[in-house]
Amino acid sequence: MAEKKLGRPVAFRGGGFAPVPRRWAGFAVFVSLILVAEWGTRAGWISALTLPRPSDVLDTFRELYASGMLFKHLGPSLSRLVVGAAIGVSLGISIGVLIGLFSYIRSGLVPLVAAIFPIPKIALLPLFVIWFGIGEGSKYALIAFGTFTPTVVATYGAVDNVDRTLIRMGQSFGLSWWSIVRKIVLPGAMPGILSGLRISLAIAIILLVAAEMLGAEYGIGAYILEAGSLYDLERLFAGVVILSVLGVVVSFGIGLIERYLLDWRL
């Protein structure tokens, strides 16, 4: 027999450490969790007091929709969310850019931002009521204040991370200060600002419920609080599901904006 060199294939040991999107995995996790809850509550090993039956929550939700109350609650909540977050985010981005650009503003405001960041904004609700009244004003203020601080921190971090060589390039071509800010600093900071926005808007949804604790007749938060105080778990969960869906929608929306604005990224 001819002597043939027997080679052993080199074992593959690279790969991994590079997550790729698996489209249906997230959906599958949701569905299986809900199915387990449904099965458990029907079979009886999860008592009705521990967790409401998902199908009952769905019924409650359907009822809410059929009675027209869904949009009666959703409307005011969405307007509070939009107005409050818009004020907080636009102020936050402006102040964040100023902190990123000017030494005195940075030294003056960074400690202040660090001081107000950890304050639970809910604790200041009475103060907001005195300042802005019990109506919509205090609710806008609470949400605006809550989204402001994370937006500031994300924005000035993003401005700090803008490639300095690009700024030097702008200066070397004699671009005006305003041109450099508008055409180099802001677009360069956009990835950081948008990822900060994901956090800020999630906080805005959290604070929406807090804002509606006081003197709100309609709103998702008011609906949840009322259900909670009555231990009506089905309605409580229906409300919570609405908030979750809102969060997913917001995150999806930012994803779309990112894909549109940041298609230049590698």
């Binding site: 690009l166 070397s172 071509f173 055409k183 230049w264």
Partner: protein
């Protein structure tokens, strides 16, 4: 317009990087500055273009820049410094936008410089789609768009592989032959220096001072890859730099 560098010295926090550099660059000439790493070549270039203030001495523009020069002192950077969110045409357009020239005139300039750098077909491409050599061509096009009196080139080919480097050197020579430009070209690559330089300024190791100025008389257009006539000056330059480079290499960083 000529440039006179008059007794420039510079320190970074107590470390002297440049000592009493004087140099004249006359119109239409490419002056290459070579020296061991850390000798302050790039600092010198930043001082000449006004991106940094010299500790002492001054840089003088002799005479007026040519009419229509939008940015007399213009850089080409080692890392290209292109805005990744702008297309090729957009990156060139950026440096024209602040000068109040009309959209039609700007478009004409953009078309012209992209044609001169063979980039016309790529005007709508984003930097991420381009190779390193193409990116540096865009940066060259951007620099040409402002009609500079003096190009300040900071190791423009150092980030490229050696084949691309040869191609771009040919491009630069072709551009210069068509329309001579004035340039200060900083490099650590002696091959580039003897291919592109009318004069080569050798700096010593830190603190950098002018060690010798070598003139190379052969016309740029007649120099070629592996040119035997360039062998002698390149060897001479290497002998000048060898000891400096060795000593610079053995120094502690920030020492």
């Amino acid at each position: 317009m000529d440039i006179r560098i008059d007794g420039i010295s510079h320190c970074y926090g107590g470390v002297e990087v440049l000592r009493d550099i004087s140099l004249d660059v006359s119109n239409g000439q490419i002056v290459c500055v070579v020296g061991p790493s850390g000798c302050g070549k790039s600092t010198l270039l930043r001082l000449i273009g006004g991106l940094e203030k010299p500790g002492s001495g001054q840089v003088l523009q002799m005479g007026d820049p040519p009419v229509g020069s939008l940015n007399p002192l213009t850089y080409i950077f080692q890392d290209f410094a292109l805005l990744p969110w702008r297309t090729v045409a957009g990156n060139v357009s950026l440096v024209l936008e602040d000068h109040g020239i009309g959209a039609a005139a700007a478009q004409k300039i953009i078309d012209d410089v992209l044609m001169r750098t063979n980039l016309s077909d790529f005007s709508e491409a984003l930097p991420k789609q381009l190779s390193g050599g193409m990116k540096q061509r865009v940066a060259i096009a951007r620099a040409l768009a402002v009609n500079p009196a003096l190009l300040l080139m900071d190791e423009p080919l150092s980030a490229l592989d050696s084949q691309t480097r040869e191609l771009l050197m040919d491009d630069l020579i072709a551009l210069w032959t068509r329309q001579p430009f004035t340039a200060i070209y900083v490099t650590h690559n002696l091959g580039e220096a003897v291919r592109l330089g009318h004069r080569v300024v050798v700096l010593s190791r830190r603190p950098g001072c002018v060690r010798e100025i070598v003139d190379i008389d052969k016309p740029l257009s007649e120099r070629a890859f592996g040119d035997a006539d360039l062998e002698a000056p390149q060897k001479h330059l290497w002998q000048l730099m060898r000891e400096e480079a060795r000593a610079a290499d053995a120094e502690l960083v920030n020492g």
